[in-house]
């Protein structure tokens, strides 16, 4: 290859790379833009949010809108409700998924694969399919309009069982057999020996469950029947919007949305490695 063609091909390569870098930047900007707009709008004055053409950067950023959110909805209570719903549900999912995942990975019993398939099939069932009878059932259990009504039906799920089984299957049998020889109970083995060796998968499941149930909207809305004391933050947000209709205040809605987005987003930024690894791991092993 002559020097001339070599430099030509390098130029073509770096031209391609420049194009690729531009495309990547555009995708990142498009992806980040809506959230940036949300935060910027929450810092604008009411007049700025109504201006035509729109103002991009607030001239004098103000936290006024955040103060108003607390005046329209019971912000502390809503955040607390969301925290309770997400935390208790996640704890339940972790325990039930680890136990069932352990059984499916390490016990053999008749009908194992049939039962497993049946449970996994429910992963593909959209919640709306069961919503109507479930609403009635939870009502007749005396749980409607309460946090318990939101939490109890979600304490176990197929995705958690699937994820735990995939990862626990990789724990060596010798480790478990040795503990059994020492007379350890099965629950002790699960939580003291198996759990530590699948800790990253447990962390991933915890994060997924927490974010999913922090964000969940349809079921709480249905089961709470307008009991505002039990509203999680995502449902309180809709009240900001209806308040908004009378006196237009986009900043108020954007401030509320920002507050609701922060907890899952912060969790993700610090722990994203677990999310990505578990998706990759379950997709490859699955």
């Amino acid at each position: 290859m002559s020097a001339a063609t070599r430099s030509l091909s390098r130029k073509r390569l770096s031209g391609r790379n420049a194009l690729l870098a531009t495309a990547m930047l555009l995708v990142a900007v498009a992806s980040a833009f809506p959230l940036a707009w949300m935060v910027l709008s929450s810092l604008k004055t009411p007049a700025e949010t109504m201006q035509v053409p729109p103002v991009w950067l607030p001239h004098t950023p103000t936290l006024e809108a955040y103060g108003k959110v607390a005046g329209v909805i019971n912000l502390g209570r809503s955040m607390w409700n969301s925290l309770v719903i997400a935390t208790v549900t996640t704890a339940g999912i972790l325990v039930t998924s680890m136990m069932a995942g352990y059984a499916f990975a390490k016990y053999s019993f008749p009908g194992r694969s049939l039962l497993f398939s049946l449970l996994i099939a429910t992963m593909f069932l959209p919640p709306i399919v069961t919503l109507i009878p479930l609403y009635r059932m939870v009502g007749s259990m005396g749980l409607s309009a309460s946090l318990a009504g939101i939490i109890v039906p979600n304490l176990a799920n197929a995705f958690g069982i699937f994820l735990m089984r995939q990862f626990i299957a990789g724990v060596p049998d010798d480790l478990i057999d040795a503990a059994r020889m020492d007379g350890a109970s099965e629950l002790l083995i699960l939580f003291k020996i198996v759990a530590p060796s699948v800790a990253p998968a447990i962390a991933a499941l915890a994060l997924f469950a927490f974010v999913y149930h922090w964000n969940s909207y349809l079921w709480p809305l249905t089961v709470l029947q307008g009991n505002a004391d039990a509203y999680p933050i995502v449902i309180s947000l809709s009240r900001l919007l209806s308040y908004n209709r009378g006196a237009v205040n986009t900043g108020l809605v954007m401030a509320g949305a920002t507050l609701a987005v922060l907890p899952p987003l912060i969790l993700f930024v610090f722990l994203q490695r677990f999310f990505v690894d578990s998706i990759v791991g379950s997709a490859i092993k699955g």
């Binding site: 809506p34 109507i132 009878p133 349809l218």
Partner: protein, 285 residues
């Protein structure tokens, strides 16, 4: 070990699913106990496919859901592969940062997505029409026109979900042995040919999985419709999750709502089976 999970899923998923099927053949008000239900055969199904307003609304919602789902999948799959390649390549730095930005939108509650996008779409005060104006495209009506409202909701759904599917695509890409590309390069295959004959065929299983998840996620869209459009304008964004809840919970017509839910379940089974059959045939080719 199995008792807690099996009991919970049995009571709160499998029993309600069977009840939905049973209720679809009953005349039942959601405000009464199940014992009040009375058998009506196929009446509910006849009604939801009939010529009355119940039938018209359901058929519109079914069609809207099908269009919405198809558009979501058609947009998400190619984008997830393109973005996955951007993250996976090693020529230009910043792939991991791009993955973080893309995946972060998946963590945002749908309700916040709906609220933010309703402002982005605002015809006069929103930034999207302003940006379009810069490149010489006139203002779009977005959510306020029956012709564009459903597509506008597809866009916000794609924006929120594509990062998750990008991570799935990356998982698939890491499974393709690098030696295949080396051999292809030696044989003189260019980048496009390598993509066409190595990457795409070997991503088929990943794409099948992605398509199934994308379909299941798409039919669950609720918040933007419930909060922003209420199914309008003129029914153009009335999708099944919203419609079934309105009929079965708000109007308490439990039998009719259950029949609609059964139709949704059947449609999903047909779609997913067809997808699997399609990929199996491709595999055996």
């Amino acid at each position: 070990m199995l008792a807690p999970a099996v009991t919970l899923i049995g009571v709160f998923v499998l029993v309600p699913m069977l009840l939905t099927i049973w209720l679809s053949f009953q005349d039942w008000s959601t405000q009464t106990p199940f014992s009040e239900a009375s058998f009506t055969g196929l009446d509910n199904f006849q009604e939801i496919f009939g010529p009355t307003s119940v039938g018209r609304d359901f058929k519109t919602a079914l069609l809207n859901t099908a269009i919405y789902t198809a558009l979501s999948v058609i947009l998400i799959l190619p984008l997830s592969v393109a973005f996955g390649l951007m993250v996976y390549q090693r020529e230009v730095a910043g792939g991991t940062a791009l993955r973080t930005v893309l995946f972060s939108t998946y963590m945002v509650p749908m309700i916040a997505v709906a609220l933010v996008w309703s402002k982005l779409y605002s015809p006069s005060e929103g930034p999207l029409n302003q940006l379009l104006g810069l490149v010489g495209i006139g203002p779009q009506p977005w959510l306020s026109s029956p012709r564009s409202a459903l597509l506008s909701i597809v866009f916000l759904n794609v924006w929120q979900q594509v990062g998750y599917f990008t991570v799935l695509a990356i998982a698939g890409l890491t499974q393709i042995p690098g030696s295949l590309y080396e051999a292809a390069t030696l044989d003189g295959a260019n980048g496009r040919e390598q993509f066409r004959f190595i990457t795409l065929p070997l991503l088929r299983r990943t794409l099948l999985f992605s398509a199934v998840i994308a379909i299941i996620n798409a039919v669950q869209v609720f918040e933007p419709v419930a909060l922003i459009t209420q199914g309008g304008p003129v029914g153009s964004t009335n999708i099944l999750t919203y419609h079934i809840r309105r009929v079965g919970i708000e109007r308490a017509q439990g039998g009719l709502g259950s029949a609609m839910a059964v139709m949704l379940m059947l449609s999903l089974i047909v779609c997913v089976s067809a997808l699997f059959a399609f990929v199996d045939r491709k595999d055996s080719e």
